[in-house]
Symmetry: C2
Subunit: 343 residues, 2 copies
Amino acid sequence: MFRADKGLAFILQYENVAWYEEGKVRILDRRIYPLETKYVECKTHIEVSKALADMVTQSGGPYIAVNMGMVLAVYEAKNLPKDEYIEFIKKAAHTLCYSRPTTVANMIKAVERCYRTALEAAENRENAVQVVFKAAIDEANKKYQRYEKVAKYLYEKVPKEGTIMTQCFGETVIGMLMRLCKENDNNVKVICAETRPYFQGARLTASVIRDMGIDVTVITDNMPGYVMKLKNVDLFTSAADAITMDGHVVNKIGTFQMALAAHYWGIPYFTTGIPNKEHQDISSVKIEERDGEFVTQAMGVKTTMEGVKGFYPSFDITPPKLISGIVTDKGIYSPYNLNKYYE
Amino acid sequence: MFRADKGLAFILQYENVAWYEEGKVRILDRRIYPLETKYVECKTHIEVSKALADMVTQSGGPYIAVNMGMVLAVYEAKNLPKDEYIEFIKKAAHTLCYSRPTTVANMIKAVERCYRTALEAAENRENAVQVVFKAAIDEANKKYQRYEKVAKYLYEKVPKEGTIMTQCFGETVIGMLMRLCKENDNNVKVICAETRPYFQGARLTASVIRDMGIDVTVITDNMPGYVMKLKNVDLFTSAADAITMDGHVVNKIGTFQMALAAHYWGIPYFTTGIPNKEHQDISSVKIEERDGEFVTQAMGVKTTMEGVKGFYPSFDITPPKLISGIVTDKGIYSPYNLNKYYE
């Protein structure tokens, strides 16, 4: 079976993202990696959905997990009569896609092939699990290959021996970008904002880059604005949880103020991702708020006095005027003309 | 003995900042408060200097500690011949003032009275310790009363039931400001950025505010830019480690990007503090870099993979164009006309 994850860092390998095996889905717990390498084991697609809501995996992880969740749903429903099976699959797809409010549109797109395959198997369920599993891998490959294309366009903007700043976890694009740097003997330096409260930048992005043998430095989230100038950053890049057709980027909290600082210093900010047709403009995006308690701790240690509240909006919105380009699998687009992507 | 710290939060009381007693100086360890209430005990002024370099206390803390350190130096030198005593005191003052490169100018100013008093006691050392201790308290009172004046000018800019955003630990000004809010029955809300890597905002500012019975919420350092708009913040305020005469503010890393975001949204940013004549312009300020290892941990827990570097500039520089006003003990000044303060 062709695998597009060859040669990437440990946590970008499918087995270490989300993986169906013998009636279970295991998901690498990205909340604790690389301090611990542990998997959350899900025995039902409901548990997969809960793991997604609990952010066991994030960034590109949920898009593989949702399909492995579909495989599991097929396994769960294997002995149901046809009508009930169809009903079960429909419900499961809905449950999985709606695990997190902000990413629903992308999840629906990601699950499509497995969902269709699962429904097609309603008549003959003998190899349903294998067939849907194959669809899940195909879909993951498609996604990875698509992001490889994105990374190639972004790589063209990376100067020789340049310095890149990242926000949160750019996932496959970061892995592919680093692979391109290695292949081209381009000794880039990468500066990663740590990305509180979950430290995805420090734990995931920096670890992936280090894993691939590239010079990487972590800074805290109050530093990017100052450090991007001080360390002559050539470009700032992030992925996106949603790119609206009117050019707004919805991404991990902190992206906005980094983009603002980049704009102030004249450093380009490139968002990687595919514009979301489902969001014709920013008004249809719901910004998720999570439990404020997570903000008043760090790595499990309480940071303030009892009685102090926490507030935790997961994402923020960066307006098109702060974005230099949306880097897609078809090239770089102006945030002001994203319809062109679909022409 | 008059005490200007009456009615302020626990950690603003002199005994809980830095305190000389029986041949020792104890300094509240602000690096761990409020999770633990522990004091670092110094038996020599060198140990006081080391504690300052290690950031056992910070913000306004060092300016009380430096004088308590001078009391200790007088105690240490009590039996030396006059010439050696003078030499010892001079050296001690130098050691204490140069504990941290960025704050040297302010430290020299802060230690002046105790230093002079200590030298004046060279002839008659009988009550030298008590006399210099009295000078240390007088100096602390003077500082606190000065900051009470600053807080009064800042308070005039706080709308009824308004929302204030803070950065790092505004110390006495924050305490005094909160006291004024209480006295005026003004139910303000305060949002504190947590201030990585030491979490002074979460641990100190938020705790002081909570201690004084005011509504307070902590956010992580990637949130201010977005949250200040979302939560209709009325003003952003910070103290300053240095205010140069050409209107630049040197303060805890993160201040710059918060000021930039406030400017973007049209929210005023008020810096509290006294302009530093010693810095005619920003070129004379040395920005301290600290051990990068501190950035790759949080509350003592490692946040990334072995081999990932950390970078830790303690401060950043905010240019005058992003500052709405410098709030001093004599009123609010434009950052573009700070000479007026000294007229």
